[in-house]
Symmetry: C2
Amino acid sequence: MAVYTEVSDEALTAFLAEYDLGSLLSYKGIAEGVENSNFFLHTTAGSYILTLYEKRVREEDLPFFLNLMGHLFRAGLSCPQPVKNRRDTALGSLCGRPAAIISFLDGVSVKRPTVDHCRELGRALAGFHHAGRDFGMSRANSLSVDAWRPLFEQAGAQADTVAPGLAERTRADLSLLEASWPHDLPSGVIHADLFTDNVFFIGDALSGIIDFYFACTDALAYDLAICLNAWCFEPDGRYHRDMGAAMIAGYQEHRPLEPREVEALPILARGAAMRFMLTRLVDWLNVPPGALVQPKDPLEYDRRLAFHRKSSHATDYGWSE
Amino acid sequence: MAVYTEVSDEALTAFLAEYDLGSLLSYKGIAEGVENSNFFLHTTAGSYILTLYEKRVREEDLPFFLNLMGHLFRAGLSCPQPVKNRRDTALGSLCGRPAAIISFLDGVSVKRPTVDHCRELGRALAGFHHAGRDFGMSRANSLSVDAWRPLFEQAGAQADTVAPGLAERTRADLSLLEASWPHDLPSGVIHADLFTDNVFFIGDALSGIIDFYFACTDALAYDLAICLNAWCFEPDGRYHRDMGAAMIAGYQEHRPLEPREVEALPILARGAAMRFMLTRLVDWLNVPPGALVQPKDPLEYDRRLAFHRKSSHATDYGWSE
């Protein structure tokens, strides 16, 4: 959580002159997001988030993300709406970085989700998939099964310094995942990073979804598998089957899973855990000196993988007929 | 700029239950302030700043700061208003830290102040001194002339690693300041840290003053001398006499300086520069590993001291009859 780029009042005022957002009342850098610089922005027209995209986001992907947000918002999803400038584009430039203004969304992220939160999340995820159906753009998932072995090779011999045996069991998992990864499931736009920090609640009601910067085109059920990993485990690797059951049931209220998706759920969940274990492992082993961001523990996902290795049926995750 | 303490939704909700602020809509850590953790807080009652006081603020000083804000707000100054909880106190406890909620103030800090900004600041400073007149509490300035030599001894032999000759010229200045520091000037509550980041403007109008955590009881003209240092110099040490003149004139519209204050202005300005040079020097030489905050350059104030050494009369700062 950090602000990587300082924005002066003069630079911001010049930037805002391209928008119909009235005049500037205040802005504050917010300690949120690990990839970009974000500012809370208040103008006479309302409250917004100003994002400056830092180097980890590929500039050529930004139109996909911003158009997707606009599409989902118009489809009725509660998500930030990109604000277009007078040149009719949501993507501008500020302090030498690509920059965008999106509407401010109220809501609070829950640190410890309950069964009810999981049910709400399942419903919202199906709503997201539904709203994305007729989105015209596509973007390959650059962090899917083909990317995992190259990621693992980056960690290489260092993996076992993080946990004994990590290299061997990861290699075995990778072989299995590569051999059995399903490629024919119903696909569409997925969020691909719907962790608790990207979901807002007001009271017990889900109020919105944010941070679409990993969104891509992939199997819809894989998105659900990511959420099961992100929401229904304890850090020690214990799975809350009741939370998983509520999430799956909430999802199925709006979009019933097809039999082949139900069958694939365990391998998708195992793959999702592998994806986050690997990116965390690489970040863990490559903390730059003076880093502002504390890397996340890859072993949380290694422990989830231990659960997935023992789970062969969707019922293990809480699915029921 | 950093958030030192993470606050969970559960902890915050429990904390807010002691306040009449409706229900929580959102909160975000803001990258502002180097001493404390600050959050933008939105509830059904409005917008606020939540501050958790970290270890550099002495807990026993907090009632002074919070009562002062309340006093100044009631006296009509545009500054944050501390919000009292149901136990009728503005000071609570959150995540093991003293914590307070204050009203959110719109406005933008200017990075490069103009002559007009300086005049506005002068007026607001006199208004601050006026509003503080009947404040019943007092707090000694722990960073005044008596504190400077001990601060300098902390840097000691390392001073010359920052700039050649820094130790010798600082020692000479300290002797002069200690010998000639005025102790009989009109005194009262001063802000003592009114840098540009602590002053908000909306358009060209000053909209508020924030961050009272260095406020103390001291010579009123010393506060003006701090502002002349903070607002009217280029980083290379050049003084903008026209900006100083505007600030002094703005101040005198509301509170004309007494002759002894005019006479003392050069030594006060020199002392103010010394105070910030020294605290910056100590911070510069003691950056903890993994620090989230980039220390400020002490040499900016060493260069200001060079100007002050050549300036013996208030007219050098822009004062005129």
